[in-house]
């Protein structure tokens, strides 16, 4: 589960008043146990709400809570229990919720556990739901039966055609049922009949996915034959469904009606009975309800030729016109009706003549940008291409233009370019091609923040209609306007102008000389250049670069040289100066041909990453890391092992002195932790080769520092071969205070000349990572074991001595670690093998630099007799998991220390 999912789970818990449950549990299985416990607690009205909330939570988070078939069975057994208890006390609310949660858990289980394991449960559940449905007219469980039918509908939607043999009994139940549960029965009936008409089960459906559901259920026929044979009383069933619609809610009636329309489309022979739906047309013809009106609309669209007369058609049109402009309707509902109207008029253009008030087509004073856009889009699609149509369309834009003039808003700007694009797509006439650029240029001149919209428009038109001259018209006009002395651009908005220049240069549609003269005169001059910010400075230089790479520099050699020279003379930023200097040197020292070779070919050129400087953010930040750095297991890499052990006499008196001297030397050496660099699931093969990879560590200053890791080239042949990319790296730590810390890690690298930055998962360093074997003096390197044993006993004695002195510089305490002797021994061997000095029977002698430890073990539990500094306690705790409180307490002592 992702972090977002986990936080959502906790939010769901607290929003349902179950926050206390999450406090007591760390794991999902623990959470499930807690929830089950609540459900099984004693009955009573007070517990009712709590149980109801738990049932809702299980329904919401079923995917997170199930891990095995046993979990599903446990949840099912619990809910059955609650369900039966409720029967006695009559809590339909909770009973219904139990059914919903059970069904939800079961459906999720197909995704999470082996399907065979839930076969029996699935069969039982379906039969249980049907047994409820068959209790027609039972006054005690109306709501529960409604919900049971909904659950079966969900199962049928999950596994189409699974319930088709139940049609007859369901039909009988639906006819007999007099309570409000009949709506759910009818919905289920309509759904099953509709599904039974489908030719075959779609492979993409879940039924197709799960063989077990497809083949092994006794109640599912192997051959799809009902569709061919048909239900003998099918027409009777349809008539029944249609007759009962007035008793349903609008939503229920619409849902069933849509199923029936679908049936008629699949089975043309049923269309002979289409007239049974006519009452629906009459009933819903003047409604404002989107769903009811949609049924009428779909009837017209699919079965109109069978049931719609001319007057019905006109009524539908009038109603769509009314609803799409009715001030009482909310804008989204009006837009919905407007879309249907558009669909109708495009399908039946002759119906436009029935619209009496054509003012409807024009946006009104109260209409917002979205309505403007949709109305003008509609008008564009109903008018035939021609000069006059284009004229009318352009006039209708006046309202949007006026509003934009009055109030500069993103929505209005976006709506205007979208409308213009649509006009150009639908009516690509000479008038349109002349007027659209004029309108866009005029607005940009008045409001320069419109530039990105115009440039996007230019790009989209260029992509869709490469032969149209509109983009070049727009860019030429804009460049001409903005290179005038009286240009409206200011320092704050000059980046928009540069965007225009850059696009014009990239599309080779203007003379660089004009731009360069303008830059020379008004931008890179002494008064202005110093005021330009870093980004704008780079934008100017990117522009120069593009001129050099796209054009013959002979034409504007002098001007470009002047611009670069002035830029160098007047800019105050070293970075900008350097870049300008490089360009200037290239320009004056290379021939035009050589210049192109250097600048254009990305493989050979150091300037290849220029493209990235076109956008304002030249570095791309990845939100999800594609790399990960994990600590490797502790490896014994001492060179001492290569030296054969000899027996040397170690003079005990000198040991402590030699050791103290050596400590100062050892402290200066870095601690090396092995790390494994790998890719994450976000990595894709095309994201390589990764070059110039640098990994930086951000450690607290008081803790120490970690040297950055630099890797020149990092690649992978195919996505399946993970070993290819797994690199072992040395993490060199220079420690000041080696306390446990979480180190932030970030990586910078380059892929195909684009620079990327991303944060990697933080590196967690605990105390055991810092332990090293006791250092051995160089003279005794060949007798390391003897040296360490001797040093250990001396250090230990020294600590004992200190612990009894008045200063009490070493602490003495006893604690019981909740760990078996074998467990502790194994753990210590695994984690700190190289630090063990001696492991004798019944006694573990541990020696760790710079701390020592002495553990005595009894038979069952480890009683640590530890005359050691507190650091080691924490390290040991982190290994053997003593309770949290103890760890917390010790950690706080460490911080104080």
């Amino acid at each position: 589960m992702s972090e977002g999912d986990i936080s959502c789970l906790h939010r769901n818990l607290s929003s349902l008043g179950l926050g206390c449950v999450s406090e007591n549990t760390d794991t999902f299985s623990g959470l499930l146990d807690q929830l089950i416990k609540i459900l099984l607690e004693e009955k009573g009205s007070k517990k009712f709400t709590l149980k109801y909330n738990v049932a809702i939570f299980i329904e919401l988070e079923s995917a997170a809570l199930i891990f095995s078939a046993a979990d599903v069975e446990l949840i099912f057994a619990t809910f059955k229990n609650v369900f039966q208890d409720c029967t006695k006390e009559n809590y339909p609310f909770l009973q219904g919720q139990c059914l919903l949660s059970m069904t939800s858990v079961l459906m999720q289980a197909f995704e999470k556990v082996v399907e065979e394991e839930i076969t029996v449960l699935f069969t039982e559940h379906v039969e249980f739901l049907f047994s409820l449905i068959k209790q027609t007219n039972n006054v005690n469980n109306i709501h529960v039966r409604s919900i049971a039918a909904s659950c079966l509908s969900e199962i049928e939607l999950f596994f189409p055609q699974i319930l088709k043999d139940y049609v007859d009994s369901l039909y009988t139940a639906a006819v007999a049922e007099t309570s409000i549960a009949h709506q759910s029965y009818m919905s289920l009936l309509a759904l099953i009949i509709n599904h039974s008409f489908a030719d075959k089960i779609k492979a993409s459906s879940l039924r197709g996915k799960y063989l077990i559901v497809q083949q092994k259920y006794s109640f599912i026929p192997q051959e799809v034959d009902t569709a061919i044979m048909g239900y003998p009383d099918l027409k009777e069933m349809l008539s029944f469904l249609v007759d009962q619609l007035p008793l349903c809610s609008t939503e229920g009636a619409s849902w069933i009606a849509i199923q029936i329309i679908d049936m008629m489309l699949q089975r043309p022979d049923l269309q002979a009975s289409a007239q049974v739906l006519k009452p629906l047309v009459l009933h819903f013809s003047s409604t404002y309800s989107p769903l009811a009106a949609h049924v009428v609309f779909l009837l017209e669209k699919h079965l109109g030729h069978l049931i719609f007369q001319e007057k019905d058609m006109i009524q539908l049109l009038q109603q769509l016109l009314l609803n799409s402009s009715h001030p009482s309707m909310s804008p989204p509902v009006r837009l919905l009706f407007l879309d249907w109207l558009s669909d109708l008029l495009i399908r039946r253009p002759e119906k436009i003549n029935n619209i009496q008030n054509i003012c409807f087509f024009f946006p009104g004073s109260f209409d917002g940008p979205e309505t403007h856009l949709i109305k003008l889009k509609l008008l564009s699609s109903v008018l035939k291409i021609g000069k006059e149509s284009s004229g009318v369309l352009l006039q209708t834009l006046a309202s949007l233009q006026k509003q934009l003039k009055y109030k500069s808003s993103t929505k209005l700007k976006s709506a205007l370019v979208k409308v213009l694009y649509r006009f150009l797509c639908d009516h690509c006439t000479l008038v349109m091609c002349t007027e659209v650029p004029r309108i866009l240029v005029d607005i940009t001149m008045e409001d320069i923040s419109f530039t990105p919209y115009v440039l996007n428009f230019t790009q989209c038109v260029q992509d869709s209609f490469p032969k149209l001259s509109v983009p070049s018209c727009i860019l030429t006009s804009l460049v001409m306007e903005f290179t005038q002395p009286e240009s409206t651009a200011t320092l704050a908005t000059f980046h928009f102008v540069l965007d225009i220049f850059l696009m014009a240069i990239m599309q080779n549609i203007c003379q660089p000389k004009v731009i360069l003269n303008y830059l020379m005169k008004y931008v890179v001059c002494e008064e202005v250049c110093g005021l330009l910010n870093w980004t704008v400075g780079h934008q100017i230089l990117s522009l120069c670069y593009k001129m050099m790479s796209n054009y013959d520099t002979v034409e504007f050699f002098y001007e470009l040289c002047e611009v670069l020279k002035m830029f160098m003379a007047n800019c105050e930023d070293v970075d900008l100066f350097d870049r300008a200097h490089i360009y200037h040197s290239l320009l004056v020292s290379l021939s035009n041909k050589k210049l192109k070779e250097v600048l254009v070919s990305p493989k050979q050129s150091i300037m290849a990453s220029e493209n990235t400087l076109l956008s304002t953010s030249s570095i791309c930040r990845l939100d999800e890391p594609i790399l990960q750095l994990k600590k490797e297991k502790r490896v014994i890499y001492s060179t001492e092992q290569c030296i054969p052990e000899r027996i040397l006499d170690v003079p005990e008196a000198d040991i402590l002195q030699l050791h103290t001297r050596q400590l100062s030397f050892v402290a200066k050496k870095p601690l090396i932790i092995k790390g494994r660099l790998n890719t994450t699931s976000k990595f894709v093969v095309k994201l390589q080769p990764i070059q110039a990879l640098a990994i930086f560590f951000n450690a607290p200053e008081s803790w120490g520092r970690i040297e950055p890791i630099m890797i020149g080239h990092y690649t992978k042949k195919n996505s399946d071969d993970y070993s290819e990319l797994s690199h072992i790296v040395d993490i060199e730590c220079f420690l000041c205070k080696p306390y446990p810390a979480i180190i932030q890690v970030c990586a910078e690298f380059s892929i195909k000349n684009v620079c990327y930055v991303c944060n990697l998962e933080p590196l967690t360093l605990d105390l055991p990572h810092f332990f090293q074997p006791l250092p051995v003096h160089d003279e005794y390197i060949s007798a390391s074991t003897i040296w360490r044993r001797a040093l250990f006993s001396i250090l230990w004695d020294s600590l004992e001595e200190k612990s009894v002195t008045a200063e009490n510089t070493a602490f003495t305490s006893v604690c019981v670690l909740q760990q078996s002797r074998e467990g502790l021994k194994r753990k210590l061997s695994e984690e700190l093998e190289d630090c063990i000095v001696e492991d004798s029977k019944g006694q573990l002698l541990k020696s760790l630099h710079p701390f020592v430890c002495h553990c005595t073990c009894n038979n069952r539990k480890t009683t640590g007799q530890m005359k050691i500094s507190v650091f080691w306690v924490v390290a040991l705790c982190s290994l053997v998991y003593v309770n949290q409180r103890f760890r917390g307490h010790t950690a706080s002592v460490i911080r104080a220390f």
């Binding site: 995704e111 879940l206 049924v295 001030p327 558009s342």
Partner: protein, 487 residues
């Protein structure tokens, strides 16, 4: 025709989590199976809220965002295509706004529609799931009353919403969207001879009662401009609350509209409407909590209150003059009558107010409010306010707003402003629309206690400064379009 998820989200970019969110896990599993590799999962709540805030323009309000503003993005309103990370997007997300909150739903629709690269040819007319989502959200809006100031919900409110979802839209299938029926659906009527309709789950015991309320609204744009015509809309809704006997009761009532009826659109509960020139007789089943019908009267072109607003600016000194005139024959008894002069982004301080009636104050620092009282002077039926104000820019105006707002150095831009007239009149409708209590008949009850009330309120009643520019155009090419369509 199922929902994948519903959310309630504040229209406030500072609130990063939804007030309520509900995903239907079984629908999601189906969706995953249907879509295969092209499946786009619903992102965590925080990411969805951020993406939606960007899509509706709350985040990056003043800047061009390609995924939102590019000119070839298909306009499929009222659905939004919400852009997510890694070039993925969620579509269709249906959004309804109510009282400063966004109610959102995402229906499950056929794969071929969602994965179609060029969505410009798609029509939402082929997707009834979207209409169903609109109905579900309308129900959600009515289920609990929430306000824009809320940043989170209490467990009780959350529980109520979950109950509504589980009862009325189990597994995302909307079976009923009227929250007023929720408790009755759980404890409905027992055995009956005839089939009990779902819209009347419990038989009413006691006297039958019908309460009808007509709420009329007037929205207006007055320009006082020789070339631009004023715009006015008079429209309203009829709400009927009924508690009547019978299994399948039917109510009849007559809506009287003296100026002629028109623009009537009704609840699906209305089974028939009979029209005469000035009346509409509606026959309907109970539909509590939902409007019985909406009407609009386009023939009314005169505003009930005529306003003239003049604002002059001398740098930061604003001189304003507002004249209001009540039309003769309009009920001169207001529950609320005030005029607001908003100056967005500015601090206003009054130097010299001189209203002919009422009082003047400053609200929220940037709005001048003229409270006229409960009526216009009886003789003149008019009121005037002359005031001089000192305007000051708010210091925290961000650079983003500055760019979006154009040239902020000049005060000229503030000349293009309007005043808002707010009024409310009880037991009155401007159009004369009323329901005759005598006309109310219930098929299953011989005697019915009837009550009819009405009110008339202003909605977007704007009077534009006659000295500034107006945001509308004089004329649209009506004749030219007519000719083209005839051709």
């Amino acid at each position: 025709m199922r929902l994948r998820a519903v959310w309630i989200i504040a229209v406030n970019k500072e609130v990063s989590l939804p007030l309520f969110s509900r995903q239907f896990s079984t629908v999601e599993t189906c969706c995953k199976s249907m879509f295969g590799d092209e499946y786009v999962g619903i992102p965590p709540d925080e990411s969805f809220v951020k993406a939606l805030h960007t899509e509706v323009g709350l985040i990056d309000a003043g800047t061009f965002v390609e995924s939102r503003d590019r000119c070839n993005k298909p306009a499929l309103y009222p659905t939004l295509e919400v852009s997510l990370k890694e070039n993925k997007s969620l579509w269709p997300v249906v959004v309804l706004e109510n009282h400063g909150l966004m109610y959102c739903a995402m229906p499950l629709i056929p794969q071929e529609m969602v994965t179609q690269q060029d969505k410009s040819d798609i029509s939402v007319a082929d997707l009834p799931g979207i209409s169903m989502a609109v109905e579900a959200l309308t129900g959600l809006i009515q289920c609990v009353s929430l306000t824009a100031s809320m940043t989170s919900l209490t467990p009780a409110l959350t529980l109520k919403l979950h109950q509504f979802v589980n009862t009325c839209m189990p597994f995302g299938s909307v079976m009923c969207s009227n929250p007023a029926l929720m408790s009755q659906l759980i404890n409905p009527l027992g055995k009956a001879k005839a089939k009990q309709p779902l819209w009347n789950p419990v038989l009413h015991k006691g006297k039958s009662q019908v309460v009808i309320h007509v709420k009329e609204e007037v929205r207006c744009m007055q320009f006082n401009h020789s070339e631009v015509r004023d715009a006015i809309d008079v429209y309203g809704s009829v709400i009927c609350k009924s508690e009547v006997e019978g299994t399948v009761p039917e109510i009849c009532t007559t809506l009287v509209q003296p100026g002629g009826n028109g623009g009537l659109t009704v609840n699906p509960a209305v089974s028939s409407v009979e029209y005469t020139t000035t009346t509409s007789r509606l026959r309907f089943r109970p539909c509590n909590n939902q409007p019985l019908c909406h009407y609009t009267l386009p023939h009314l072109t005169e505003a009930p209150i005529y306003g003239a607003y003049r604002l002059r600016l001398n740098n930061s000194l604003a001189t304003l003059c507002m004249q209001l005139q009540l039309r003769a024959g309009i009920k001169n008894n207001f529950q609320q009558l005030e005029v607001q002069f908003p100056f967005p982004g500015l601090q206003v301080s009054i130097v010299r107010p001189s209203p002919s009636v009422g009082s003047v104050s400053v609200q929220s620092g940037s709005t001048l409010v003229w409270n006229i009282g409960s009526k216009f002077p009886t003789k003149s039926l008019g009121a005037t306010l002359n005031a001089v104000c000192k305007l000051r820019r708010k210091t925290e105006c961000s650079s983003e707003q500055q760019i979006d707002g154009g040239d902020v150095n000049g005060w000229e831009q503030y000349i293009n402003s309007c005043a808002l007239v707010l009024f409310k009149i009880a037991d009155y409708t401007y159009s004369g629309t009323r329901v005759d209590p005598q006309s109310i008949v219930v098929s299953t009850a011989p005697k019915v206690r009837c009550s009819v009330t009405s009110e008339c309120v202003s909605s977007q009643f704007k009077v534009w400064n006659s000295e500034g520019e107006v945001p509308v155009v004089a004329d649209m090419p009506v004749q030219e379009l007519q000719n083209l369509l005839i051709k």
